[in-house]
Amino acid sequence: MPVRIWRKPLDLEKAKPPRGEIHIIKDRCKGCGYCIEYCPRRVLEESDEINKRGVHPPKVEEESKCVVCSFCTAVCPDFAIFVVEKPCEGGC
């Protein structure tokens, strides 16, 4: 799956992929593992926590690696994970 490019970088020197803020609605998660497996940047991993449904929801391993492609959101069957683009701090 190609990574979706949200905006064209103006200055390739300074270009950084957009930074994501990952939201996990833990108690909705049914633990299928799709978000973890199919994240192109390996941002997520299984947590040790056990949620209301008795499964291990994902946790964020390294948020800065996230490119906000939202594939995890699209492939989650349970509406348990979504990503929002972080507002630019310090003028990116």
Partner: protein, 280 residues
């Protein structure tokens, strides 16, 4: 990770929130199909007040109850026939049928081919999980030869339908097949179908790990999705009759995208002619 617990999932406005979480099992593809459909609606900025979602009976049949749109959960097999009444009575509505392989092609097969023949403006999304999920995993019209189900305990002895070929031969003007792993393309395809007029059909190969996968050496959703990843080949606009679905190869892509006068356009033209006194 989030600290802001108040932030809602971006798709929530398209869901009947009181009904989420849905009833589907862990790893079931139905939730992905639901997400993909509402994502398409969202991206097209469609008016949810003018969409009617109709489903039949089955696991995927419950989908109608989850969308925050006018919706009707009909009897087993009759979603398309019901949708025909809805579309003709109010042509302004975008009428979408989301249902299962058993519902649409076993008990409801006759309605499918006739609606496609008429080219009525109904959009059909079929969750093909290769079996009757709701009733506990029996063999159905898309179960692959030799697959194990509760009613094919010695391996399925029936040839399955090739749904895209059936749809194309019946007269559908948009036909595609995707899997739940190809969500981006699926969403784009749903968007394309929603924007077209006429009978559209999208088959989505969807994992049912709970009762189909388990009996066919794929215990988890991940195993089923990885299988879909491994065997899927995109062959856009290839011959639908040759678009196989087998253990080793699943041909996906768009197969038909054509224009043909829709049933309701011909119907309304006829009504107009009759009303102008030029009936015969």
């Amino acid at each position: 990770m989030t600290q802001n617990e108040n932030l809602a999932h971006p798709m929530e406005v398209f869901l009947r929130k009181s009904r989420i979480p849905h009833i589907w099992c862990s790893g079931c593809g139905n939730g992905i199909i639901l997400h993909s459909f509402i994502q398409a609606v969202k991206e097209l900025e469609m008016d949810s007040d003018k969409i009617a979602v109709i489903s039949g009976i089955g696991c995927i049949g419950r989908v109608a109850g989850y969308v925050n749109m006018d919706s009707f959960h009909t009897t087993h097999g009759r979603a398309i026939a019901f949708a025909t009444g809805v579309k003709l009575a109010n042509p302004e509505l975008t009428v979408v049928v989301i249902s299962g392989d058993g519902d649409l092609f076993a008990i409801g097969g006759n309605h499918f081919i006739h609606a496609a023949r008429r080219n009525i403006d109904i959009k059909v999304i079929c969750a093909n999980n290769f079996n009757y999920g709701m009733t506990g995993g029996q063999q159905g019209p898309t179960t692959p030869l030799e697959a194990y189900t509760t009613t094919s305990p010695y391996g399925n002895i029936e040839h399955p339908f090739n749904l895209v070929s059936l749809a194309a031969a019946s007269g559908a003007t948009y036909v595609a097949r995707w899997t739940t792993l190809h969500v981006r393309r699926l969403t784009a395809s749903i968007q394309k179908m929603l924007q077209k007029r006429g009978f559209g059909f999208i088959e989505v190969i969807s994992p049912c790990p709970e009762i189909y996968g388990r009996r066919n050496k794929m215990r988890t959703g991940l195993e089923m999705m990885n299988w879909l990843k491994k065997v899927s080949v995109i062959e856009n606009f290839s011959d639908p009759a040759k678009a196989e679905v087998s253990r080793d190869r699943i041909i996906i892509g768009e197969f038909v995208d054509m224009e043909k006068p829709t049933f309701e356009s011909i119907l309304y033209q006829t009504i107009k002619r009759v009303q102008e006194g030029k009936g015969r």
